[in-house]
Amino acid sequence: MQNLQVYSNPILDWLFDQNYFGVILLNNDLNIEEINDWLLEKKNLKKIQVVSKNILEVFPEISERNLDKYLHDALSGIHTFLSHKIHKYFIKVPYLKNKDFEFEQHKTEISPIFKDEKVYGILIRVEDVTDRVINELKLHNTIKKLEQTNQLANLNIKKFHSLAEHLPDIVVRFNKDLNIEYANKRIRTITNLGPEEFYNKNISELKFPEELKELFKRELLKVVETKKLQQIKFNYKYESKDLTFTASAIPEFNAQNELETILVVCRNITEEEQAKIKLEKYNQELEKLNTNKDKLFSIIAHDLRSPFNYLLNVVDVLDESFEELSQEEIKRFLNEFKLTTRNIYKLLVNLLTWANLQRGTIKLNLLKFNLSEFIENVLLVLNKIAENKNIEIKIDVGKDIYITADPDLLNIVLRNLLSNALKFTPEGGIVYLTANANNEFVEIMVRDTGVGMSTEKIQSLFQVDKAKSERGTAGEKGSGLGLILVKDIIDLHQGSINVESEIGKGTAIKIKLPKVIV
C-alpha cells in the first residue's frame, strides 16, 4: 500500500470530482486508491467496499476478458486506449435506458503515472459513449436509407428515361417554374433541335409560336394551381404540314405530396383527326343515301301507286261500262287518263334523273345556248296547264342572255319550278319568269302570286327526309321530289338557289348559275 499523497495533486482532485466519466486510481499493486462516485453509483458500490481492494477482485470482468494485460502494460509505462467498438467496455455497467444495448459502451484510457522516472500507479478513465453510439447508429441507418432512396430514385429515373425514349409520344418534364428538366428524342418530330437544347430552358425561351407558348403556359400554371391533370389540344405547323396534337399535363408529387414537376405527354393525332373527319363525311353520306333510299321507297309506295290505282279504275270502268257511257263521259275519262299518265311520266323522269344524280352517273353535258329560246321550248309543255287554270305566265328574259348548262337538266329545273308555281297559284293568278345576267352569273327567277309558304316549310323544301308534297290549288298531286331534284341539279352546276315566300302573297325562287363552270 502506497501513500496516497504520492498521487495527490490538484489535477487528480479535479478528476475525481467529475461526475460525467469514471475515474479509478490504482497503485502499482493494482489496488484501488481512489474511485469516483460516477462509477460507484453505476456499480452500486460504496467507496469503503472497494478502496484498498485489488481492482481485479472488485471488477472480475477485467481478468475474465483478459483485459488485465493492459494494466500490466501500464505498469511497464505503456499508455492504452480501448475503443468501445473493439472492447465494448473495460468495466461492465448494465445499460438501463433502453434495450439497444445490454451494457454501457465505454471508451477507456489506462495511463501509467510516473514519479521520478518510475511508474507509481495507474489512472483509469472510463467514458460512457452509449448514447452517442446509438445516435451514430441512427444516423448510419438514416444515411443508408437515404443512399438506398437515392439509388432507387436513380434507378427510377433510369427506368423512366428508358421508357420515355421508346415512347411514340413527345415527353417533356417541366419544373414548377416551367423550366424544362427533360425532353425525349421525339421532340425532334416537331423541331430541328435535339432534346439537350431544351434542358433548363424556360417555356418562354422556346422557339415556338407565341400563341402556342401562351396556351401551354396557361395550362401548366393551371396544373401548378389545381394540382390536377390538364388536357390540351393544339395545332402546330411544322415543315409545311398541319399537325394536330393532344397533350396531357400530369402533376408529379414528391414524398411530402408537394407538386414537384409536371410531365407533359404530347401525342400526334393528325392522322386520327383526318380519319375522324373522313369517317364523319362517310357517315353523312351514308345517312343521306339511307334517307334517299327511304324517299325512293316512299315515292314508289305512294306517289306511283295511287295514280296507277286510279288509272286501273278508269280502265276498268271504260272496259266494263263502255257501252253504257256517253261520248262526253268517255272523253272526260280519257282526259283524266291523259293527265294522270302525264303526271306519272313526269314523276318517272324526275325519279330517274334524281336516281342518276344520286348514283353520280350523270355527267354534265354543258352547252352554251340562248336562254330566251330555251325557255320558249320549256313553256310549250306548260302553257296548256296554265291555260287550264287560267294563269298568265309573264316572261321577261332578254333575248341576248346566253347560258352554259346541261340543257336536259336545266329543262327539268325550269319545268319543276314553273309547274310548282302553277300548282300553288289559284285560277286567274300570274306566274312571272324573269332572267338577268352579268359577267359572272345568270339569275333566273320564277315568282307566283300563289298561296305562299311558311318559313318552316321553306327550310324543309330541300331536305330529302322532310320534304312533303302538298296538293295544289286545284288538287294537283306531287311527290315533293321536284325541288330536291332542282337543288341537286343547281349544285351540280355550282350554282345556288334561294327561296322567298310569304303566305297568301306568293313565292319567288331564284336560281343563280355561274357563266363559267369549273
Binding site: 509505462g77 499508455h79 475503443s83 459513449v129 452517442r132
Partner: protein, 200 residues
C-alpha cells in the same frame, strides 16, 4: 544527417519486430488477419517533411499523435490519408455495412490502432535506449499536412529530424498504406543511432 543503408536495415529490423507484436495484438482484438511490414525508411530534416509527404498524401490526413519524453523527447505519429483510415477501420472490423465517413466511434478505433502501433514502436525505442519513455494520451486529428506539422513539440533551437517509416498494413488481403513518423531532436536521434549501431 544521413542514415547508411546498414543503419536503415537495422532500424527496419527492430521496427519490424515491434510491429509484428502490434500486428498480433490487432489480430487478437479484431479477429482479422493483420500483417504490418516496413518497406522503406527515410530520415529527413523536419522542415522538409511537408514536401516529402505531400507526394504520397494529398488529401486531408488522419493522424494519431503521441508525445514522448524521458531521456529522449519527441513526437510519434501514425498517419493515413482519409480514405485509407476509413478503409482500415472497415476492413479491420469486417464492417459489411460500410460508411464512407469517419464517425466518432471509427475515430476511436483509429486511436486504438495508432496507440498499439505507436506504443510498440516507442517501447522498442525505450528498450533499445534502455530508458523508460513516458508518453501522452494518444490524440487523433483530421487536418491538412501543414496543420499537422504545426502540432509538433518544438523545443529550443535544436535541429529536428523526422524518421519516416513507411508502412503497409495487410489486412484481410487488402494493402492499406500508412506512415509512422518519429520527430526527434539531434541529440535524441544520435543516441538512438548509436544504440542501433551497437546492435549491428
Amino acid at each position: 544527417m544521413l542514415l547508411t543503408n546498414r543503419q536503415k536495415d537495422a532500424i527496419a529490423e527492430v521496427i519490424n519486430i515491434s510491429f509484428s507484436r502490434a500486428a498480433k495484438s490487432l489480430n487478437e482484438l479484431t479477429g482479422s488477419r493483420v500483417v504490418i511490414s516496413v518497406p522503406q525508411i527515410d530520415l529527413i530534416e523536419v522542415h522538409k517533411l511537408e514536401e516529402t509527404l505531400e507526394n504520397i498524401i494529398r488529401d486531408e490526413i488522419t493522424s494519431v499523435h503521441q508525445i514522448f519524453h524521458g531521456s529522449i523527447n519527441g513526437d510519434a505519429l501514425l498517419i493515413f490519408d482519409r480514405e485509407s483510415s476509413i478503409n482500415l477501420v472497415n476492413t479491420l472490423l469486417k464492417e459489411e455495412d460500410e460508411l464512407q465517413d469517419l464517425t466518432e466511434s471509427m475515430k476511436e478505433v483509429i486511436i486504438e490502432v495508432g496507440n498499439i502501433v505507436l506504443s510498440a514502436c516507442l517501447s522498442m525505442f525505450g528498450n533499445i535506449l534502455k530508458v523508460q519513455l513516458k508518453f501522452t494520451v494518444p490524440k487523433i486529428s483530421l487536418n491538412s499536412l501543414s496543420q499537422m506539422i504545426q502540432t509538433f513539440e518544438f523545443s529550443e533551437a535544436e535541429i529536428k529530424y523526422a524518421l519516416i517509416i513507411y508502412m503497409d498494413f495487410l489486412v484481410e488481403g487488402k494493402n492499406i498504406k500508412g506512415t509512422l513518423i518519429l520527430v526527434m531532436g539531434l541529440t535524441s536521434l544520435e543516441k538512438f543511432i548509436d544504440e542501433i549501431d551497437k546492435l549491428g
